[in-house]
C-alpha cells in the first residue's frame, strides 16, 4: 500500500518537474513547481518527517513561490523566446545518459549503506518530530542556529541594498 502510494507521488513529482522545464509559459512552469513541492512534502510525510513537510509547504510552496511568480511578472516574460537547438538537446541527452550509466555501474559494484541514527519511528511517535528537531537544534546545533540569524540579517541588508528604489 505504502509502496504504491510512494510510486504515485514520486511519478507525479517527476512528471511535474519535467513540466517545469518543458512549459513554454513561465507561469505554468511556476505552477508545476508548486505541485513538485507538494509532492516532496508528501514524501517527507512518508519518511515520518511531518515538520519538514510543513516547512516545505509554508516556505517553499508558499513564500518562495510568491517570490518566483513576482519575479516572472517583474520581468514580464510571456512565453519563452529562442528555440532549443537540436545540438544542445543531443549533448544534454548524451550527458544525462552517461551519468545515468555511471551511477548504475558504480551502484551495481558496491554497496550503499548509511549509518543508522539514534532516532527511529518509535522515538518520533513517542516524542514527536518537531520536538526532536528542536532538541538537537537548541543543543547540539546551537551555533549553526545562531549563525542562521546572521545569514538572514545579511540577506535582509542585501535585499534592501539591491532592490530598494531610492537609497
Amino acid at each position: 500500500m505504502e509502496t504504491l502510494f510512494f510510486s504515485i507521488v514520486a511519478a507525479i513529482a517527476i512528471l511535474m518537474s519535467i513540466l517545469v522545464i518543458r512549459c513554454k509559459n513561465p507561469i505554468n512552469s511556476a505552477l508545476s513547481l508548486i505541485m513538485t513541492f507538494f509532492c516532496l512534502a508528501t514524501l517527507y510525510v512518508m519518511l515520518e518527517a511531518p515538520f519538514m513537510a510543513a516547512i516545505q509547504v509554508i516556505v517553499y510552496a508558499g513564500a518562495i513561490m510568491v517570490l518566483i511568480v513576482f519575479v516572472i511578472m517583474l520581468l514580464n516574460i510571456r512565453t519563452e523566446s529562442g528555440r532549443r537547438t537540436q545540438h544542445a538537446l543531443f549533448l544534454g541527452a548524451a550527458t544525462g545518459l552517461f551519468l545515468l550509466f555511471q551511477t548504475w555501474y558504480f551502484l551495481s559494484r558496491s554497496s550503499l549503506t548509511g549509518a543508522k541514527g539514534a532516532i527511529d519511528s518509535a522515538a518520533i511517535a513517542k516524542v514527536g518530530h518537531t520536538e526532536l528537531i528542536g532538541q538537537s537544534l537548541f543543543t547540539e546545533f546551537l551555533l549553526p542556529f545562531e549563525i542562521t540569524s546572521i545569514l538572514l540579517l545579511a540577506a535582509i541588508v542585501g535585499a534592501v541594498v539591491l532592490a530598494k528604489k531610492k537609497v
Partner: protein, 118 residues
C-alpha cells in the same frame, strides 16, 4: 502511521472532485450562446483596457523578499515553542539572541523606509 493523514487525502480528493466536477457539470448542463460580449473578460461593465499581464513594480519584490526572510525566522520559532518549558531560561536566551539579531534587521528595514510604499 500514514493513517493519521487519511483525512488530508480525503480532503484533497474531495477538493479535486469539486473543482473538476463543477467545471464538467457546468459545461454539460449550461447553455452555450457565444457572442463577442460574452467572451470578453468582465471588468465592471467597462471595456477592458490593455492586457492583464502588466509588468509588476520591483516594490512587490522587495516586500515579498522581506516577507520570506521574516517567515523563515518564524519557522524557527515552532520547534522552540514546543520545547519552551523544557528548555527553561537557557532556551529563552538562545531565542532572544536569535530574535534580537533579526530585530536589528527589522529596525534597519524600517528606518531605511523599505516598508513604505513609495
Amino acid at each position: 502511521m500514514l493513517g493519521a493523514y487519511l483525512p488530508i487525502i480525503v480532503l484533497l480528493v474531495v477538493a479535486a472532485c469539486f473543482g473538476l466536477g463543477s467545471v464538467v457539470v457546468s459545461s454539460l448542463v449550461g447553455q452555450k450562446k457565444l457572442s463577442p460580449v460574452k467572451l470578453q473578460p468582465y471588468e465592471c461593465g467597462c471595456e477592458p483596457v490593455g492586457s492583464a499581464q502588466e509588468r509588476f513594480s520591483i516594490k512587490f519584490y522587495l516586500i515579498a523578499m522581506l516577507f520570506i526572510l521574516f517567515d523563515i525566522e518564524c519557522v524557527f520559532l515552532y520547534p522552540w515553542a514546543v520545547l519552551f518549558k523544557r528548555l527553561g531560561v537557557f532556551g529563552l536566551i538562545e531565542m532572544g539572541v536569535f530574535v534580537v539579531i533579526l530585530f536589528v534587521g527589522y529596525i534597519y528595514v524600517w528606518k531605511k523606509g523599505a516598508l513604505e510604499w513609495e
